[in-house]
Symmetry: D3
């Protein structure tokens, strides 16, 4: 089975912290690869994004899933 | 200003595709680093996640922001 | 008042687990209905999605709201 | 490979609509099952959620992934 | 029917832009109110968040729903 | 550095509640401003959204980040 999510970064679990309902998992990425970001066209134009730009991909932790 | 989002991966824009409302940005990650995933405790236990496990961090493209 | 969220699945609460800040709610769906997924065109083409395909709709628990 | 996302609903693709960057996929759910929602404890208490309550699981389309 | 989402800000539609699949809606907020953010404890501690701090609530557009 | 997220609402922290893994932060918004919502075109049409409409922007708490 293949999933539509564009971004899958390989790594090793570096830490597991369990709460009552939630858990925080730290993953040390070993193979960086390419990340796809879908933002508004308006944002892309205001940031004037173009090939070669140095940027940061920013992701809230609650949006990251783990596959094993 | 510092943002609460745990995950910021440095990279270079590899491609920009503009739609009418949305845009897709491909970012080639240059510095992998550590990613924090917040999942349910139940998931963490069912996947039996522990230090050293080989895993994949999975992220839907619509959840990725770009900072420049 | 009507909300823009496309997906509303009727069901019964099967379990409530309270943490300090978060809570996990299990809902047994009684009327399945239709789910709308918005993914990248690129994903739709790579998965070659077309009418009649057997698929799974995958949703992270932190993205599900409850209305009562 | 198993993913941490709690919710996987089986169904058939009923419609595919392609935009330039995004695509909308309608999935007719065939096996309803159980959905896990993670909300704040505060919400759970204000809605007074308890076993047997009739509720709706609400999900924004941009949060739904497709696996095939 | 009441929804678990903590944040509902009243306003007036200032602009509607339609794409093929997605639409961008600008809402001029008229009654600000209080916003609840759920972040990791780790972030809250690193930002040293405490009552009275001047902050910004940051939200990706794809996470905002509209009720009318 | 500028971030692609369209929505940044200024305010003051009114409350901080720490759990083991997650934290809930209440922010009293002081400068309302304009919020951008990206929804499906289908939703925009069904709600018949047009300039001047009284609406509510609805946001799940887990989608709100804090910048300080």
């Amino acid at each position: 089975m293949e999933i539509s999510a564009r971004n899958g970064l390989k790594g090793n679990v570096a830490d597991v912290k369990l709460g009552e309902v939630m858990a925080s998992i730290k993953i040390e990425i070993t193979e960086p690869g390419v990340i796809t970001a879908v933002i508004t066209r308006e944002s892309a134009e205001e940031l004037d994004l173009k090939e070669g730009d140095e940027v940061k991909a920013i992701i809230k932790s609650t949006e990251v899933m783990v596959a094993k």
